[in-house]
């Protein structure tokens, strides 16, 4: 619907709920009897009654003419506004109308009230209704008798949990979270290789339950996951239980209230829970990656609903994962990693770094299979109480990783197929060489978790490198 035309002459916009509007009713009557005036009322069609008002029921007049305050008095000449005044100011209104005794006996000045068209509870809906939509997605009407959440389950758009219906108002509000244009292409999403626009990602973010301030993180996660190096297609198609894990860092994580502390890999934090979920909903609904179709996981893992957490980079003794990939510390950034579910690395007795390194290395050797090496990466989520043991001994990131790698070399004879009575293992032919568990870049060190508990967590990765997936780090684009 286009912009409603205002009639020539004086026009006033008022609402009964505003005391100043009620105060100026005698003024409106004086103007009606004199030069004439058209009055629009926002809330009560019977206000002011005398003079009779036009009811701006859908607030189209108020919205299109940018009314921020009531009362507003406008002069229109040949269909165009030539001036306006708002609130009640006796001298201003007298000058504006040229009537010297206007509002005799009234207080000299009264501030106006907020226009109903800028009410924060209404503004998103009004923008959707009157904004001349910038959104291109197909509109789908939900029948009166239909439950919109059930409808979205039925259409196959849910990951198994209820999704928030992506109304135009909600999607527009989500788009306020970024400066990027709605029609900008964010990524080509596997497996169907469909271009996802900022708008389509916003729809997924609404459905996942994101707030607009999370949206730049969602966009960046989608960009990072839909790269050739990350290989989201392979991640779907594999029978292994992996999904995209989003590791966030930078001051922006605290601004949006992400959890990097107690229960960091668990439930209960809206940003952590919904950013990863939004990424997976983009893969599902835009890319067409659905379980039982291209997603062939034998078991999967609960993190495939969405797995996202923040590093405690404000207290980290060894910086961030993104920093280790070359991003300046203090920059908002994220890394996507192809991994499964977390497992606890338990050690409550080691107080010396050597003992703790020995202990962690033993447990890390078991990632995916203790006799398989170099083919899988792993992410170590070190808790503060473990990290403190290393920090107090002066071990930095490089030292911790070096000491772990040293301890993660195993004689090939113990890893060969058949060794230890286990058919699984590496092929024969390595002689008595010691084989490293991980490639030099295959152990990803992060810092997060509650302040109490001598534990870390390990997240086993998928096939690494050019044959599988390489972690991808991106700075967050706002």
């Amino acid at each position: 619907m286009g912009k409603p035309q205002l009639p020539d002459g004086l026009v006033a916009i008022v609402k009964r709920d505003c005391e100043t509007c009620r105060t100026v009713v005698p003024v409106l009557q004086q103007l009606a009897a004199g030069p004439g005036i058209t009055v629009y009322t926002q809330d009560d069609p019977d206000f002011p009654g005398d003079p009779a008002a036009v009811y701006d029921a859908d607030l189209a007049v108020s919205w299109h003419h940018d009314i921020e305050t009531v009362p507003t008095l406008i002069r229109v000449v040949d269909g165009a506004e030539v001036g306006r005044t708002f609130g009640w100011s006796q001298p201003n209104w007298r000058e504006f109308t040229g009537i010297d005794d206007l509002g005799d006996g009234l207080p000299v000045m009264r501030p106006g009230c907020g226009s109903k068209s800028v009410d924060p509870d209404l503004v998103d809906e009004l923008r959707a209704r009157h904004g001349g939509s910038i959104l291109r997605s197909r509109r789908i009407e939900v029948a009166d008798a239909e439950d919109d959440i059930e409808m979205m389950f039925t259409r196959g758009w849910s990951d198994g949990l209820p999704v928030v219906p992506p109304t135009e108002a909600r999607v527009l509000a989500m788009l306020d979270g970024t400066s990027r244009a709605p029609d900008e292409v964010v990524a080509t999403v596997p497996p169907d290789l469909v271009e996802a626009t900022v708008e389509k990602v916003a729809i997924a973010a609404v459905m996942a339950g994101c707030k607009p301030e999370y949206f730049p993180w969602v966009l960046t996660a989608v960009e990072a996951a839909c790269t050739d190096e990350f290989n989201m297609h392979g991640l779907l198609a594999t029978t292994m239980p992996v999904g995209p894990i989003v590791v966030c860092s930078g001051p922006g994580t605290r601004k949006i209230g992400m959890n990097s502390g107690m229960n960091v890999l668990g439930q209960g934090n809206r940003a952590n829970s919904t950013i990863g979920r939004a990424l997976q909903l983009v893969v599902r609904n835009v890319g067409g990656g659905r379980p039982g179709e291209v997603d062939r996981a034998a078991h999967g893992n609960p993190g495939k609903l969405g797995f996202c957490f923040a590093e405690a980079d404000d207290t980290s003794p060894y910086g961030t994962l993104a920093g280790s990939f070359g991003v300046d510390e203090g920059t908002d950034a994220l890394t996507v990693f192809a991994g499964g579910g977390p497992t606890c690395l338990f050690d409550q007795l080691s107080r010396e770094p050597e003992s703790l390194a020995n202990s962690l290395a033993h447990q890390l050797q078991a990632v995916n299979h203790h006799k398989l090496v170099r083919g899988f990466d792993a992410m170590l989520v070190m808790g503060p109480e473990h990290a403190r043991v290393f920090a107090e001994a002066g071990w930095d990131r490089d030292r911790i990783l070096f000491e772990l790698h040293v301890r993660l070399a195993t004689p090939a004879t113990e890893l060969e197929r058949g060794a230890g009575g286990i058919a699984e293992g590496v092929p024969a032919g390595f002689g008595d060489a010691a084989l490293p568990k991980f490639t030099p870049t295959g152990l990803l060190l992060t810092y997060a978790g509650g302040g109490a508990g001598l534990f870390s967590a390990v997240i086993a990765g998928w096939v690494n490198g050019a044959k599988g997936s390489t972690p991808v780090t991106r700075e967050v684009r706002y």
Binding site: R138, R139, I140, V142, D144, V194, G234
Partner: protein, 92 residues
């Protein structure tokens, strides 16, 4: 009240292509065997090649660089232009 929501899908129109009819025999037909690089896929395909050779079919072997990614477009084109029939092996 009727509510309106936005379509969350890619809204692509799927191009449906009918399958070719199965050949009545393999006489004079070139059969492509695509190894997707999974362990022991070659064991399966070696045996298939033996059996096909016995029928007089021409066999060509192909291999994906990694099972974890779709076959490169050049490889797909090569198979499509050189073969009339293809067998893809998935094994572990």
């Amino acid at each position: 009240m009727t509510r309106t929501i936005l379509d969350p899908t890619g809204e692509r129109s799927v191009a449906e292509r009918a399958r070719l009819a199965r050949p009545g025999s393999l006489d004079g037909v070139t059969v492509g065997l695509l190894d997707i690089s999974k362990p022991r896929g070659d064991v399966f395909l070696d045996r298939i090649e033996e059996r096909l050779a016995e029928t007089g079919a021409t066999v060509k072997r192909y291999m994906k660089p990694t099972f974890a990614k779709p076959a490169p477009v050049d490889l797909r084109h090569e198979i499509a232009t050189e073969c009339q029939v293809v067998i893809e092996a998935l094994a572990d």
